[in-house]
Symmetry: C2
Subunit: 266 residues, 2 copies
Amino acid sequence: MAVQGSNKNQKPGNLVQTIERVSLILDVLGRYSRGISVGELSEEVGLPKGSTHRLLSSLAYFNFVRQDKPTKKYHLGFKLLELGSLLITQIDFRNEARPLMQELANKTGETIHLVVLDQNEALYIDKVALNQSGLQMMSRVGLRMPIHCTSVGKILAAYLPEEELDLIIKEKKLPRLTAHTMTDVALFKRHLKEVRVCGYAIDDEENENGIRCVAAPIRNSDGAVVAALSISGPSIRVSLKAIEDSLKDQVCAAALHISKKTGFIG
Amino acid sequence: MAVQGSNKNQKPGNLVQTIERVSLILDVLGRYSRGISVGELSEEVGLPKGSTHRLLSSLAYFNFVRQDKPTKKYHLGFKLLELGSLLITQIDFRNEARPLMQELANKTGETIHLVVLDQNEALYIDKVALNQSGLQMMSRVGLRMPIHCTSVGKILAAYLPEEELDLIIKEKKLPRLTAHTMTDVALFKRHLKEVRVCGYAIDDEENENGIRCVAAPIRNSDGAVVAALSISGPSIRVSLKAIEDSLKDQVCAAALHISKKTGFIG
DNA sequence: AATATGGTTTCGCAATGCGAAACGAAAGGG
DNA sequence: CCCTTTCGTTTCGCATTGCGAAACCATATT
């Protein structure tokens, strides 16, 4: 599967009601890890109990949701896990990326992430952390991060058409997450220009205190940036000097390698 | 989230048409890793092009599917990845299991799996393999396996009410996958009795030639078996002797440890 | 340019699914 | 032990929703 740019969702209007409701229901279920009853759910989504129940039982039949028999509460269903993990295997560069991510993790000792742009956010689609079960990053496949305060987000943003970037900034703003977060649009754009020049991006504790990252772009055969690869770790180990001295080169080399494997001619 | 037993889906009848169609569409999309056009898809699902398109555009709006702009082809959408990975984090024993799986992988050098029963199959919900990027198992989170020829499947089957087990066997049969696969119902049931007595199950190249596994049950606070933990590896390393001497004890100890962490009083 | 191909939109009809209300099954309390 | 409450599930008549044939439109092709 090719992952090309982000998907700008057209204007709502002619949406299928059932799909809208299903999306809403699944989102709510996602927020209740202990499960939720029909009554509560119907309250939450603002639909009559009967209607909610009809949708739930059909969703359950196809395994999109699960009803816990003893408690009668509804949960997300394993069909979602199945489809989600299927989706991951369909991303073509992911298979090429895997071994190189592993190697990068072994060499650097830090956590490696593979990220795409989706819904105007940076979406983690793979992660390799060393087995030494020390402190792990809170990141996780399927998780989303803002584009303005992560190294991967900056990479994905830097190679976007200006107008699309403007739309994203307009929608998401540049919320402050740490003292280092860039919250000024002009500054952010200047920064992205630098990223394009350097060919890599740094997150210097702009997303989470004590965490620093470096990322590089992964390109498809057309040269378009389709993903970003990053090295993340505690600021003590991932010092600005370490980044300059070797990490930035390692992540760039690995990203280029992946790009070439999937048809990019550098 | 508690994962309790399997979900027996009630009889179809009053299903919401849209949900049925959505499920079908997503399943088909899952089979086309290169994407599929509206025309092909409408052919495949047996729906008029217009109807297929309407469903797809609503699904795309909510990010359940993605349309690749250059090719216009449709793919699974990242919302599925998001919901699927959210679901995984909601399984309560998974968080307790993780570190123990890691430890088990380090000690044994083999691949560790965490599996639940879903839709009458063994569903992999977590996997820990060593970093040493040698030969990896083809297993993957979200993948399903038969219950009769995997160690984890046998564990999940062994503690099922007889009637439910019969239903599963009736539905799935006991298809032969290797020369060692048990295909006789009576033999299989006798075998499950042994599993209950021993407290662990072995897959002796019954699912895949050259792969042997040992699994043990994970129980909730009520003592009900909710998952299985396994050690898998090439038959050369995972010999029957190695299993007897230490692997079976290690996997049982780890599984019991996880059970106790989530409230089981052994 | 003309044509073919395939994605997208329209629109009038009726099937689909909506939701108020009835029903039923547990759980709690007198 | 029965009565009451609570909450999940089912029913059913109505009208809204979404169905799908056909028109439309945008690319690619000759």
